[in-house]
Amino acid sequence: MTKLETTNVMTIMKTRTSIYHLLLAVCFTLCCTAGLRAQENREISGTVKDAATGTPLTGVSVRVNGKSQATATDASGRFALQAAQGDVLVFSYLGYRTQEITVGTSASYTVGLQPAEAEELGEVVVTALGIERKTRSLSYATQQLSADQLDEVRDNSGNIMNSLSGKVAGAVITPAATGPGGAARVVLRGNRSISGNNNALIVVDGVPIDNSSNPQANSTFNSYGGSDGAANLNPDDIESVNVLKGATAAALYGSRAANGAIVITTKRGKEGKLAIDYNGGVSIDQPNLLMDFQNTYGRGNGGEAGATAGESWGAPATTYPDNVRSVFRTAATVNNSVNLSGGTENMQGYASYTNNHNAGILPGNDLDRNTLNLRVNNTFFSKLTTDAKITYLNQKISNKPRLGDTGTPMGIYIMPRDMSEAELRDFEGTDPVTGEPTRKYWTTSSIFDNPYWDLNRTSVNEERNRVTLLGSASYQLTDWLRVLARYSFDRYDDKETGRYYNGTVSLGSVQPGGQYYETYNVRSERNIDVLISGDNKLSGDFSLTYNLGGSVLNRKSNSLQNMANGLSIPNQFNLSFATTPAFNNVSIIERELQSIYGSAQLNFRDYLYLDVSARNDWSSTLPSPHSYFYPSVGLSAVLSDALSLPEWVSFGKVRASYTEVGNDAAPYLLDQLYNFSLGAGQGFVSRDLTRAISNLKPENTQAYEVGLDWRFFNNRLGIEATFYKTNTINQLLYIGLPLASGYSQQYINAGNIENKGIELQLNGTPIRGERFSWTTYVNFSRNVNEIIKLSDQSNRADLSTSTRLASVVAVEGGSYGDLYGYAWEKDANGNHLVNDAGLPIVKANTKIGNFNPDFLLGWGNTLSYGQFSLSFLIDGRVGGEMVSGTDSFLGAYGLGDYTAQYRDGGLILPGVKADGTPNTTAIDAQKFWTAVSQNGRDAWGEFFTYSTTNFRLREASLGYEFPLNGGAFKRAQVSLTGRNLFFLYRGKSTLDIPGMQRRTIPIDPEAALGIGNYQGVEAGLLPSVRSFGLNVKLSF
């Protein structure tokens, strides 16, 4: 390892793989050799007290980390043991937060342990680059969640990010409604980037992981939602999650953390005998919520029955109220996880295996995930510690649902109300000549198939193999200087196959014989960093800690597709049968980021902390000199230590910080690109629709943050508050160009987006008794976004090219996420205008909503009584709108309960004609809903806009901990869980049409087609899922 210390980083970068592999090999080899005993032990003594009351604590376990020395405090709280300078003493005590101190030159220490329920106080959190910091010293907001808070009540998607909902102040979690394996959008403190990524960075054990998502919906047109990197995280391996919300928190991770970071620490082995933990759960998942249908009228139009009509505008008929529900299944999800951990003082190991089977509510849609995790920590010569981890994941998602305006769920929703289950299941015949299935559908359609055809005769399956390697070695150069070298490699290979039987129309262009394709997506990310950390006592009152590091990050992605559209032997789904084999290069990405960074913290008497950091990045995606720099500064003051405060104040801190974060761009934007595509003749070349920008500049975010953290009444009541303001300037911004330019968009550097907001967390323990206790927390956050400046060329940028239902646009003076579409026009007096046919006159490009909530609320509770504990979380969002394409289809097809009104006419829309006279023309429901829905896909947005305000019982669990005395089991816990149980309130339609009741949003207000910036418009989402589960935890 000595070689590594002195290796010039430059060399590391140049020699590439050989060194990394050598490093890894060394780590692994060393894992298997025994370390040597440390020298220079001397006696260290001290006292352990309750930090809040000052009472000495008896029986506190004290041990030297990584060594065999251990003792316990006596009746007066005193301890003594042998330890060397630089050793870490670990103090643990039931009901108190474990604390570590590093042995310095002093031989005596006084340690204050914090009561466990005031966890955050002395809490050590993992911050940027895996550097552990005491929360009290941080000048920015973080929020820590334990594994129990995340892995007990699980989301059907299998994506742990969805478990953050309601628990983190300021986090807007939007799951893509794509079933198991679905991606999740995690936005902290509002959207900063107009065209770019707004998702928080995910960091595992100090290293960012690839969380890129496969293609996400950018219109309501049908599509398969891609999974993301976070969906691969195994909840059972997670020790804790720390959410670094602001740009400050993440300055050291660089650009990708400008949107905050979710820092995940995974489990590691512990010294001691072999321990085995088992965690198993089953849950039953079913649609939480389906829309309200009319159950009076059957197939037809104009009130007359029509046997081959697709709509339900016919005559009264025998209807089947549960026909839609009958397609969805009650699915069973099973999780099994076992882990082993143990080790000696010098070597600890952790191994786990987890199997997740998540079943979607659409038949055949399953996720199977196997995760194998191995981690070894070693200590050598007392100065060298290593950490090596390998995680292997295999994940299969079968029958991914196609969402969107002609997807499978929409195909289910639009079935006529008088369609029986039997008729619906009659989805195919057999070709007597070929024996192949033939498509049956109840009406002529170029855009829909019978949902059972979709489910049985089309399938998209995805398999991912992912390997994540992490190796790090840390060497204590002197008692005040440490060097850490770290290598991480994350690679996954996706193989997606698509099969569409001959005759499928809903995909658009399945050529004769059927369609088959294989898409290969290989992504890798390699990060090497070296970090030097120092800790110096400057004088009696001052100490300085500092880090200096450098890193090289390479990211590659290559996506290739073999397409067989048209099969010579029908429905033989293999490339061999392609009538016209085609190879598509879907996308290639390769980029490199080189960075150096440094941070320093000046500590005055452990109550005043000054932080500064600086970073310079060189990105391959920017024009020469590729370079950008950004600094940060922060201040934290623990007033309760600095000042003499009343007894009832247990802790008080104020903090402030200022941060800048730079950002590079996507690759390949500098030169004008031309695309090759297959076609007649010898193929086509066309100019790319994105205009190149040769003078691209890096983006810059400036963030201010102030906050406070106070605890009262012996830590039984706590309040944390943060106010922040961020401005993102020089945005890498896509703006639309006129259609006639032949470009759909161009990248420019412009803009100033401002986010201002507040985050509040209250927590308390109203009751703390012998047998009964109640702890509760409330999270509140509000973010206000303003687009102060867009660009000199344009005051409007479209965030999507789709104009169906609504466009998501950024307008100068507006806020991010504004939705524009057709709205019912009004005259000067505010009367709605109606045309001679008695129908609304509409105006295009009118603001009809914004997809961001005004504020978020979460209320969590844990009630314990003896061995029982009951937890529940209610959370809600207030404000925000969504334009529902699902609803426009329900209107267009005469399916929604509201379409039963005015079937026979008599609807006189309140409004005036162009000449100002009141409208007197009566119309019927079909005329009205057909007109405003424009047949569903191209509806006038305002008529289908809903408030996304909602409150729901997000999670509930009832657990029982078996009282154990000895025996094989160390712990046994059983819990009943429920997730997404019911809505307390759901938003209503925003347009009030007198004579019609306000409708309730027919889909989950928080779900989305995808996790990109195309939000607030949906069509054909899967219903959200309600889960009931049983969970067992056993420790041996």
Partner: protein, 516 residues
């Protein structure tokens, strides 16, 4: 030692490690040049796009002009365009076809190819072909700055655009004629004539003739001058010269009409049924095929309300789909199989003859008398669709008149236009209009344009209009500008709207549409 390390460490970063960044930031899967090597591929792209490729055929042409030309009527309720309800997103799609998929490619060729080269000439001809279809849908459109990377692009009035069309075609033909005989341009890439310059000259002149007649009412002198020049230079005269486009299963380049027909959401319109059935037209069985339920040539009216579409007689299965050139029915699988590689019709000699017939009636020198041109047009079209000489002779002298098509609306015969050359000029003009419309099939875009200009053929009004701007009994005149122009080109859009001379809706007539 520690200091040394720190220094080395810092130094390593001040040295440039970014030498390979330029290479890293070059996408190996894309091209960064549009030079001589790429030009032929760009021409292919433009050709396929301009004639509506698979991705755009349905929404841009089939559910629009093809219905407005009353070749087909919609038999399903999923779309409303047959009742003149417009879908704004589809107007945007037409602009995408021309401005994004066609114009940048042609502009690159025009700018980079040698002056007066064959490549430049072909690109200019295709440019006119693409843009005339666009401007004839919308009126004033951004033209002179099309495909320029600028933030605002002005609209140009149609007269100026047409003037430029004629200039480009004139120059292109002159340049092509100056090339050595037998010169091939874009051979292996030209999807229409495989680089045959002579055919391109005929195509360009016929296009010029088409455009000349388009402005015959509004700018008669210019029209005559351009038409005579075109004919003198040589237009399409026989079917061997017809323009059609190669299609392929590769990529997304299949035959758009065939694909759309396989979806079977439209069927023969009663308007064309009235003519074809009444005339005992040999083309009936080529343009359409018997319905799959009863084996009849059945039709339905345009603009049927949803309740009328409940009637099984108005379903696709009881009406005639287009002919077996495009789709075939498989009874065993109960499905249509599209002929996805069939060549796509672009322009025929018959049209040139009918244009000359009308020109001759105008008193222009068309190289032949009106009647001769008219009868040559019929002959060419019937021959093109497989009729034999006997049938053609019988047709030319037929006394048959359009008939009641036998639809659910009990529609009477749509008109009383005879086939045999009539004595009076107004009937002759109508005859030319009807026969040209029949011969143009399935080019609904050109047929709709000429219907608006001439009023021929007579058509049934749509049964129901759901467009408040187009009251019952009126016909659609144009398409409104795409609404996305309000986002990205708002200032110029306002000026463009002012050039229209009427509101930006579907009822405002275009510059050349002065016939009422």
């Amino acid at each position: 030692m520690k200091k040394l390390f720190l220094i080395a460490f810092a130094a390593s970063f001040t040295l440039s490690c970014t030498d390979n960044f330029k290479e890293l930031n070059t996408n190996p899967g894309k091209l960064t040049e549009a030079g001589a090597r790429e030009m032929p591929f760009m021409f292919s792209r433009a050709q396929s796009a301009a004639a509506m490729d698979r991705s755009f055929y349905q929404t841009v042409q089939n559910l629009g002009a093809d219905l407005y030309a009353q070749y087909y009527a919609l038999s399903v309720t999923s779309f409303q365009t047959d009742r003149y309800v417009l879908t704004p997103d589809w107007q945007r799609r037409f602009w995408t076809v021309v401005y994004a998929n066609t114009a940048p490619q042609l502009k690159a060729i025009i700018e980079n190819a040698a002056p007066a080269s064959g490549e430049q000439a072909l690109a200019n001809i295709l440019w006119v072909y693409a843009f005339h279809r666009l401007t004839d849908h919308f009126g004033p459109v951004p033209y002179f700055q099309a495909a320029d990377p600028v933030e605002q692009i002005p609209y140009d009035n149609q007269e100026a655009i047409y003037d430029d069309f004629f200039k480009r075609l004139d120059q292109a033909v002159a340049d092509l004629k100056a090339l050595g005989s037998g010169t091939q341009v874009f051979q292996g890439f030209d999807l229409m004539y495989n680089g045959d310059v002579n055919n391109w000259i005929l195509f360009a002149n016929t296009l010029r003739l088409r455009l000349a007649l388009r402005i015959a009412q509004v700018s008669p002198d210019r029209a005559q001058q351009e038409a005579e020049a075109a004919v003198a230079s040589g237009v399409l005269t026989n079917n061997g010269q017809n323009a059609s486009l190669a299609k392929s299963l590769k990529g997304n380049d299949t035959h758009g009409l065939a694909q759309t027909a396989a979806w079977n959401e439209f069927a023969m319109s009663s308007t064309i049924a009235s003519y074809l059935k009444g005339y005992n037209d040999p083309r009936l069985g080529r343009y359409f095929q018997p319905d799959v339920t009863n084996g009849q040539y059945n039709s339905l009216r345009n603009g049927l309300p949803p309740s009328a579409l409940n009637n099984p007689r108005n379903n696709s299965s009881q009406n005639s789909n287009i002919g077996t050139y495009w789709v075939t029915w498989s009874a065993s699988s109960s499905a249509w199989t599209p002929n996805l590689e069939a060549r796509q019709h672009v322009m025929s000699a018959a049209e040139a003859w009918f244009l000359r017939a009308e020109g001759a009636l105008n008193g222009w020198n068309m190289g032949a008398a009106a009647q001769e041109c008219y009868e040559q047009g019929i002959t060419a079209s019937l021959t093109q669709w497989g009729a034999d000489e006997t049938a053609i002779r019988a047709y030319l002298t037929s006394t048959a008149l359009p008939a009641a098509p036998g639809d659910t609306e009990n529609s009477p015969a749509v008109a009383a236009t005879p086939i045999a050359w009539a004595a009076d000029e107004s009937t002759r003009r109508e005859q030319i209009g009807v026969q040209k419309w029949l011969a143009l099939f399935p080019d609904g875009m050109e047929a709709w344009a000429e219907f608006r200009r001439t009023g021929f053929p007579k058509m049934y009004p749509v049964v129901q209009s759901d467009n408040a701007d187009l009251p019952s009994g009126t016909f659609i005149k144009r398409l409104p500008f795409p609404i996305v122009e309000e986002n990205n080109n708002a200032g110029e859009l306002a000026k463009g709207r002012a050039l229209l001379g009427g509101p930006d809706n579907a009822a405002t007539s275009l510059w050349w549409d002065v016939n009422e």
